[in-house]
Amino acid sequence: MSVEAREARQPWILLSPALSAVGLLLFVPLGFILVYSFWLRTASGADQVGFYLDNWRAALSDPFYRDILLNTLKIAAITTGICALMGYPAAYFIARARGNKAILLLLLMLPFWISYIIRTMSWINILGVSGALNSAMLWLGIVDTPVQMLYNEPSVILGLVHFLLPFMILNVFVSLEGIDTNLEAAANSLGATRWQSFVQVTLPLSLPGLAAGGLLCFVLGAGTYITPMVLGGPSNAMFANLVYEAIITQLNWPLGSALSLMLLAVLGALVLIYNRYLGMAQLMKGLG
């Protein structure tokens, strides 16, 4: 074998464990889901093997699925917006802190040490009728009767912000860390106020980090089903809840497969758009 041929093969040999893992753990299961989506669920609960378009027809034409998908995208967008507004100042503070940034970053990571479900359920003890907030308001005489704060759309968004905010802060922080602080000093020396140097220099340079955080928050938010299940009311279901119900409650794996692929396609399209205009490199930095 020639040296060139051996050199051409080497990257593939080195990559083969990773490619095998991705193939076996991602593409093969996805293939199964795709095949399942063309089967049918029979009245007995068994699956009928074949090539049927019924599930896809229902998923694509039924307004029920369309409305819940749009509502999911709306909730994910609001959550992402709130995460950006709350996360940017926090990331800026950590990036520009003179003390030990490692401690601040550690504090940011602390919530990840507790299960996501437990963190979500903790809001019941805070916002519930007999929770901490209502008890405090009653004790202070602010209200006469407990206020119903749970099991509605705002409580779902709150739970999602709680879950996703660290992802936003980390991405923006990484982006801000990469900006040379001399640029702000140069802008100030040329007559810009601190606000102007932030708006015209720092903010534009940190936008890729903000976009990467936004993408992560949006995709993770749109794909969750635990938060609406725990903190939502009857009409606050998100698209992933439909997948959960089709597969777990109705045992309709073929329809659940079609719905999950539909959600994957919508979120995948967003990732592709992001990659086309901003590239995945910034996202990798944030995740790293």
């Binding site: 609960g45 068994a46 299940m229 777990i248 794996w253």
Partner: protein, 383 residues
Amino acid sequence: MKKMDNTTRYERLRERYMNGDLDRRGFLGLIGAAGLAYGVQTPFARYANAQNVSQVRFDGWGGVVSEAFRKYAFDPYTKKTGIEVVDGTFGGGDQYLSRVKAGQPGEYNIAHLSGVFDYARYTGLGLNSELNEANIPNLQFVIPKLIEPYRKISNGTLSCVPYDYGTTGLAYNRKYISDDEVKEKGANILLDAAYKDKIAGWSDWRTRMWYAALQTNQDPNNATDVEACWDAVRQHRDLLLKYWTSGAELMSLLANEEIYVTEGWSGRIYALQEQGHDIGYMDPPNGFGWQECLFVLKGSPMEACEELLNFMLAPETSIAVAEGQNYPPALDPQKVDLGDKIPTLPAFDPTGKLSGLTFADPDYWNGHEQEWSQTMGRVQKGY
């Protein structure tokens, strides 16, 4: 020759490598070969291990029910037989069925299933086993009326033993709703606009349709005006704070006064009363009665499972579990002395004939399962 496990084998190999007796390529090659050999033999290991049962998997409803099983049945059984009982939990029979469907035969062994309709579904999907009743002598103590429906479904044989029974009745906070009001309004209290946002309900489609039939004065096992039932389900949804999805959530909503009224499981409500909460419980006429069984799935180690079932049906175990989980046992009160606490539990029938309870007709409910579960998914979300 002493048997060597894989860990010892790996440690010896590592020691040789560290001592320089083995080059790196050889070491990694042998580790890889060991991994490959283990991976290849693992799918077949289950069958080899089946000869020598060291554990049985049991899945149930979690919470106080699981605690009672662990304390009064599994731990003593393990102590006696040396067979470990691994217990998992589920939120409902549908959820569990999807896990079984995704698993391998033999992965799941015994399930605490609710309702004869679940037995019929599991049997219909070919997940049933055939128990050797000679290995379960304690079956003689069980109420005959609880065994009959199972035999009817599986052609005279049994894949399960009945274990307990209970009801899904009306549970209400006495601080806000009186016993008289519940007696007067019955199932319609769940549609009372005065309690808007203080009402809850189980997300289970069967329970919703059962109560909708009661609210529209129909036979829950044969509703003729189904549209009226769905209208009642919608009316209930519009007054609802939340659909609960587990017994723990039901107890939390009532105990924290997030809600004042819901339908609830008799044993869970009794547990709340025991904890000191002033929660009332009433079965409306034709209230939802159910029986639970311990179902053995196809591919399970039968003798070990039968031994566990017999152990669990022994009066001393069964009574202790019943007192722990607050559901009357399937034992016939005419044959076994059930002690002092069990006669005070909701739904308990001292005659052992259970003529006062209305059970779900499996043919009727399973016949509507596909259509109604899907419709419920939509109605639940505001459609």
